[in-house]
Symmetry: D3
Subunit: 256 residues, 6 copies
């Protein structure tokens, strides 16, 4: 049994860690969503769990099992729900998952919970889930919850290094340079570099349309090219993310 | 990318498999729940996923990511919610997860979905989730869904072999001989044989009481002893389960 | 006004009983579900109410009106939802009914509530309803809730007497010997012995399938024959159930 | 087995009636609510079921089991939720009960459903339940649903006869002359005439206040005196209600 | 910034009013619903807001933004859902809106909340929303909530003056004399007197039918004629409503 | 009755417009939320409605009543829920409001619906509401829905003109230059320029924390200074927004 992944620990080991060390618990939230022909459907869960584990290792944290299914994919940030393989849940379901698990960690005596989101569309439903759990727990509860999109910890310097021609923005970074590089670092066996499509950056209007128009999105599902991705960039980013998240967790929760 | 786990496939590879081979998709449903001092918290998700993968390999099926969090633990079958580490969700959440994912697989064109439950308490909420999804999909939908507790495929002969002194019934088989043996087969590195407690079979009344009385359950969380567990029994059971489930899937869906 | 059925008491009489005697309140939960050609649709509500009343009479308890509609019938235990006359509710509805009524009994000052289930499919939704009510009421609430399937109080000796050729298990005991005998004892005018079908024990696979396959179930709706039923067996079982339930209620709640 | 009450019929008998006679099905909706010291808690369910049965008998209709628990009691029409014994459900629960059962009757092939409400507070939640069921069933469904408060079928002439000093309005007719007279007709053994309180008509302001103020309501729970009640009035009203409802059902559904 | 409408005040100004003056807050609830050819769709929200503002001005109250969308229109009181332009919400949505906003006003420190309903169909869902909010806030919360249909404050004398030929009852007063007169007083530019239809009083049976029968309602949507409406009657009623509501608010909350 | 605001039209006028002109319907979604000491609580609803009306006027569109209450305020974009006066709803409520109203516009025969969001936190719950409505309406429904945050139509050139020292990003544009300038254009009487605080741009970490830390946000509630706001900038932006939105609506829906 390792000391990072909660699902491989016995309850006795977990309980003792909580009681003696008051460790931060990381809850990764991902998705099962198309990530182009070169990345696997589970990318968002794999990466949020990997980043969480890297951060947790630095500060003796524990990583709970990832929420593997995320909110419905949107054309502008994930390609949309018309892709085969994308397997999503409704708002109410994701809100419920987060609400219930936050409440359970509070029951365990956890005081430092870190929700690490790896799927853009999840953000606001995670927020609602945490908010409802905090309401359930009522003022005075000892648990505090941090919520983050992991990529927000990348520094401007790193983004300049990773995108020598300029950073196109997170909006189009779906199955593109950041995710592909991180996958090459964490799970190289799951990346098919030879299948990276040439699809240039998608160009979206200032609005959304329902039902979604599949023509807005390249048939590959890639919103901007992953051609610039490599494992070195992945390592640089992974190292920075782990360090910055670990530091933020330590600082924020010590302050509390 | 292997050919069994959906989350490690690209959407293109998944789509092509669905379109050409009409494979059965397995959805394992587990829990994060105390399993005594010798088994990890993730046992139910690990085992339902492992059994599903073994069956899927025999018939070119695909295994979707397990639902890692299950319904609230009950004293008589899982020890109850007072254990630290047990991390459960409400009925509505589990129902929603199943309903949403079943609907998504139907959208993919999946016609054969197999929900493999590994946590006793999940059964009826999975049932409701499937039922609501089928209602959403309306008569005429091509998808069919099998639902099972994997242990129900063990034959009487195997149970006699595994329990030479008599099978105590599935009710008490929590963190006991079957689960421990299967874990020794699939994930031996996660089993601490040296920590198996001596707790004899729990003796429950004919009713339940709320709030639950922790005194009903041994402090270890084990409902009957896992002393008789070994990897050979695990292999025998794993082999039988994979074969029987694979056969049932083939037979049932061919008949359709 | 009698002293057992809550719906025939005035609120003043009920209030005085609660205030002075702290009596157990029994809440029967049934169903409106096919029970073969020989038993009425209301069998589960009639029997759970009758058993509850028999037990209540022994210990000055009060019986609340039965929940007359139960969770959706499943092929393996109730024949399934394709039968005309079976009138079922969704999980959320049954959960809500139980949650709301438990909360109300707590408001009345009831400290001993006994939920007597007479429809197999209800079990887990009753459990969730009670659990949510207890959460609403928060730790410190004085109410305790027992939950039972009434048949679980039958002793092995009685089962041997009732089934001289061996007990086929509760799974198939739908509209069969136990229910028919109890109905002959409690409501003989509602039983049509002449219409008991010959349908032998149903033989189900280890899994469920959705949409349900009507061919799994005899057209009569009976899962194993009721031929062995008679009023004497009914009386023996009714007597034992009342005594055992009454005793369990007294013992458990005194211990509290 | 009689031919009026659905819960005492076998499914075969019910199915045959539906298939051959297309009978109206009556669904009574009541409450478990204080009705003063002289009437039982179950009055609303007992009366709505009795009126439904009387009407059904005239036109070969069938009466389904009453919904025994109603929406939360309000001070101005039922005394309010502060009374012990009043046992109510939330809006969502009652809406769900009605929605689910209407959908089930439609599945049975029922084309004429009559929801007979006997508890004032239920009205709008029954309406929502029916509306949602009709939406679920989609345009083209053969079922039609009538919804009524049974007392609305009393004629002005009858009200004049029953209230020689003037009808105070249905608002205050809680546990008063109409309900007490009907109970004396249908269930005289459940009425305690000697306990009718002297409480004069309650006098409410033009608004409601939350939390409710118990001082608005007489401690007895009676909103206007039942002194004028007798069994003859009960019979007159029961006869008129049965005849008028039966006629409305026949006329309305024939027109369809 | 005026001192009546909350949405035109800064939060600082609002906070200071709450902290220093403990003013009553009025929450108008309306609908977007057909009101015949002569009144606008927004009549119910416009009138409940106008009446609330008139009352608030007399007692230094504050008026929150109206809930502009109401519960589904019913044939007997609003014409029904078959009218184009009527834009309604489900029970759950209206209940949620009221529950959430009541809880928020309590968080602000508001102790006197007055919910002014202007759409008949809203009444019971507002009631449920307030009840659930009070439950959320738990006993001891300082907020009290009044709930009213504004027309219930009209005196018998005024009704006699407004309806010299007799008051037909509120049931038929949809887009009729009261609403048209009040609109002529408050928003004369939105009334088209020349388009008032001749439709006599609608004549409804004692029951409702689903799906609704459009033939029950005049094609104009008017349930009784607005011919007798004029601005003077509107002013008389507006003056009385403002005075009576203001007085009731002052009296009731002072008593508390 | 004007021709832009739906709530001031009669249903007959609205119906005729829909039937003959197939106009786009605009649904503004706002909030009741602190906007510093210088802007009113209703700013988001006022601005989304004003922008929608300006666009609608150009293309004969119709503006429905704004949803006046929005999702819970977050520290980084609206200051957070600790401010007095901020009056927010839960996710489920906002989702329901959008779902229900979209479904109603579809029933009216509306084919072009434009949801104009003016409160950042609303975005994803509006998305879910539309998605659920489209699912309810089923494939083949004629209605199409555009969804937008109105500010996304500002061009880079305009942002440069409005922010000569550089645009700080929409994240901090709460009660700052854009909103204040637009209010000075549309509702100058509701702006208190003299009360604009000096609070410099807020500086937030890469994560969120729950419960929110009020110290993250200036006590004024302003996230970056509105000092640069003026009515001319407001007019420039208002003109551009109206033109660009009108054009996008025409283009997108013509293409359909």
């Amino acid at each position: 049994m390792n000391t990072v992944n909660m699902n491989t620990m016995s309850w006795v080991a977990y309980r003792d860690r909580i009681a003696t060390a008051n460790p931060p618990i990381f809850l990764p939230v991902g998705a099962l969503e198309q990530h182009g022909p070169h990345l696997p459907l589970g990318t968002d869960a794999l990466l949020s769990a990997a980043v969480a584990a890297s951060a947790a290792e630095q500060i003796d944290g524990i990583v709970a099992p990832a929420l593997s299914y995320g909110y419905k994919s949107q054309p502008k940030c994930g390609g949309g729900q018309h892709f085969c393989g994308t397997t999503s849940v409704d708002a109410q379901t994701l809100i419920g998952l987060v609400r219930d698990t936050v409440r359970e960690f509070a029951r365990h005596g956890v005081e430092k919970l870190v929700v690490v989101n790896g799927h853009y569309e999840n953000q606001w439903f995670i927020t609602e889930g945490i908010d409802l759990a905090m309401r359930d727990l009522q003022p005075g509860a000892k648990i505090q919850v941090m919520r983050m999109e992991y990529w927000d910890f990348l520094t401007a310097a790193t983004l300049r290094a990773v995108f020598p021609d300029g950073f196109p923005g997170y909006a189009l970074e779906h199955a593109a340079v950041i995710e592909t590089s991180l996958m090459l670092h964490y799970h190289p066996e799951l990346v098919r570099l030879d299948l990276i499509p040439d699809d240039g950056p998608a160009n979206f209007p200032a609005y959304d349309i329902y039902p979604a128009d599949p023509d807005w999105v390249p048939p590959s599902g890639v919103l901007s090219s992953a051609r610039g991705a490599d494992a070195v960039k992945g390592e640089i980013m992974a190292t920075e993310l782990a360090a910055c998240i670990a530091k933020a967790v330590m600082t924020e929760f010590e302050r509390a």
